[in-house]
Symmetry: C2
């Protein structure tokens, strides 16, 4: 009884059996109904990953070696592969080996610490691992796995017994996009208990293919801030996470399937359509509604914005075109001029806001840039080049490099942990 179909049959008949017993109608324990598999190649202390669904025994991680054991029940499949990585280069697909019980198993080489999206391929079909929770990335709900970091300094994103803020889902109708949208709002510990206190606000954006849930689910922004605030390292603040895709109504959505083999410029233009209304939605709708619905301090000295990857680019676009609204700026593995064929020119960029470094430093309390050292060279070197240009132009800024991590969430957690304590110190 090891086939997928028998699992479902088990669920149904198991449910029926339990109904006869008197109470429980389904079970969340299906994933636990797995026989032990053989991992002859493995030594180590493998434990279910913290990103597993309840009771799922696989995938398992050996925290010391950072190797992972996968186990997929797919007796009728001819090929099962997994792709999990976070290295700087192309991540290869790894083959699982079929066992006599119909399951497929693999013990991987050491995996980079941090959070990774990963697909499982069943006869080439990109699937999820039923043992793992899903996280919205690459435009869909993907399996994710957390590889514990061996660094004591990485405990900053672990839940501790400190006062906790709340994560709120807040729906709004956008007059800009003419649709219902949602922001996720972190309110700091004590927000409800001090009903007259007002707080500064950090607007924090996800990357391409992700959504407004990314920073709390994958990024643990709430846990990071809870810990920083408890330690007195960051000022209590509200964090607002908006959805970075926003299209003007009536604008035709380009058919991306046609653009597969098209030019990069056409693809970029299409993406601009899908994000074209973001700056307006954020500055004309979200900021005013946040200032109305939450006890914010409503001036530029108490408003920051940061984002990762695509969100970093958007942060530069929004803040440097609205310095009347924002005075703290963070680009996490993404910012204008980092990646591109357009070289930073301090005299002309963003209508000349950089042209006078002293004036810029007075106006922008923090310009913060970061990247992982194992990011693809285009990003890492691009950011280094941008930083050199900033140094050459005498633009005051902070530059941070996350050791050993790639274009992934551990980089961005570390970014936030460095960035947030620097906020709202000027006013």
């Amino acid at each position: 009884m090891t086939t997928s179909s028998s699992r479902r049959t088990f669920l149904k008949s198991g449910a029926g059996a339990v109904i006869a017993g008197g109470a429980l109608l389904k079970t969340d324990l299906v994933a636990a109904a797995q026989a032990p598999a053989s991992f002859p190649e493995a030594t180590g202390t493998f434990q279910p990953a913290e990103t597993n669904v309840p009771q799922a025994q696989y995938p398992r991680v050996d925290a010391r070696s950072r190797r992972v054991q996968f186990r997929i029940d797919a007796p009728q499949a001819r090929q099962v592969q997994v792709m999990v990585g976070g290295g700087g280069g192309e991540t290869p697909r790894m083959n699982l080996v079929k066992q006599s019980d119909g399951s497929w198993t693999l013990t991987t080489p050491p995996i980079v610490e941090g959070f990774h999206y990963y697909p499982v391929y069943i006869d080439g079909f990109e699937s999820n691992d039923p043992g793992s929770r899903t996280f919205f990335g690459e435009g869909r709900d993907m399996s994710g796995i957390e590889i514990p970091s061996p660094l004591a300094s990485d405990s900053f994103y672990r839940m501790r017994d400190v006062p906790h803020g709340q994560v709120r889902e807040h729906y709004y109708f956008s007059g800009v996009t003419q649709e219902w949208r949602r922001i996720i709002v972190y309110t700091p510990p004590g927000y409800d208990q001090e009903p007259h206190r007002r707080y500064p606000v950090l607007y924090l954006q996800h990357g391409a293919g992700e959504d407004e849930t990314g920073w709390t689910k994958q990024g643990r922004a709430n846990v990071i801030l809870d810990n920083l605030i408890a330690g007195g390292e960051a000022k209590p603040m509200i964090i607002v996470m908006a959805y970075g895709y926003a299209k003007f109504p009536g604008v035709a959505a380009p058919d991306l399937s046609r653009l597969r083999s098209g030019s990069p410029a056409a693809f970029f233009a299409a993406m601009q359509v899908y994000t074209g209304a973001f700056a307006d939605d954020l500055t004309k709708v979200v900021v005013p509604l946040v200032d109305k619905a939450y006890r914010t301090i409503r001036d530029r000295d108490h408003r920051a914005m940061a984002g990762l990857s695509m969100g970093g680019f958007q942060t530069f676009e929004v803040t440097l075109n609205h310095l009347d609204m924002f005075s703290y700026i963070g680009g996490f593995s993404g910012a204008a001029f980092v990646l591109g064929n357009t070289r930073f020119d301090p005299k002309t960029a963003y209508h000349g806001v950089f042209a006078d470094p002293a004036a810029f430093a007075r106006r922008v309390h923090l310009l913060w840039l970061g990247a992982g050292t194992n990011e693809m060279p285009m990003i890492h070197r691009g950011l280094l080049a941008f930083q050199r240009d900033l140094v050459a132009a005498h633009i005051q800024h902070v530059f941070y490099q996350s050791p050993g991590t790639a274009h992934e969430w551990l980089t961005w957690r570390r970014d936030l942990n460095d960035f947030a304590p620097r906020l709202f110190r000027a006013a």
Copy 2:
């Protein structure tokens, strides 16, 4: 270029191309990169399901006929099936047909309206549909699809332009289970704007295999209450949704794989272990922390509890053993005595709380029971029998039947829509 592997290659190379263009590093638009498929058998106006990921063209629903078109890109698979239903009986797997472009397609017969979890089988492997969002059910993150209801009366769960409450994630450490847990808390519109107003509380529980997110994601409890409150039909209230699985620390977790072929009694006993600490966690930890962290009215007249399926059973266990804390009780497709081999005896059940019908009616302001007419007979008939027993014993109660729906979320949305307006009228 239609294989799964090419999709991933596209993502990578597409991302590279966009990087060269200057900004966006990934894309959520992969799912849109699908060529139109042939559905020769279909007539109707098929639109992407509202549960799809952004830009995904499939699955598609014809709202009039309630038929669904599925399209799965799995050129190397030998068999692709889908199981989507909500009928009263066993839901069959339906075969998709392979097209010349390597995709597999199907237009289904009419599907029951409402929300359905559904798996896709790739060569027998139970997978998700990459076009659909995932929802936590059956113990994992499953694809879900919303089939619009043709009934105008079902608009109650649609987002309207009314004031909206908030949905909050609230973490707490449970001294009962010795672990970090989470409640989801709905605060009604105006909660933050009226900082001295206090509210009654409904504790609302998910079913087996689900978690504390079910009632807002699948159930749309927040939208339902926003609409009821805006229409003056329900009193503004706080809703608290806890996680129904709670195990005492140190108690060995039974290995359910051994119980597959075991007795129903053994399986039931195992489930009791996984939920054994729930009543204590709710009454000793959650209720006190809610009364501390939120502006509640802290007495039994302003405390209700309801739950679906397993959560209904838990509601009876908690409320009838703690009538000092609760005075409104709802069982949605689940309650003690509904299903079982134990017949309801009003003289002895729950320490005799039903023995004096007049006293019970004074003490319990509302006893509410509901089920869908298309639920499996064991539940539907079980509930009818329980209701007959209540009538025979002169126990005051409300009985509601959801027409045409099964053991699924549309039943429970309708339940909540009938139940919530009856709350907090006695005090």
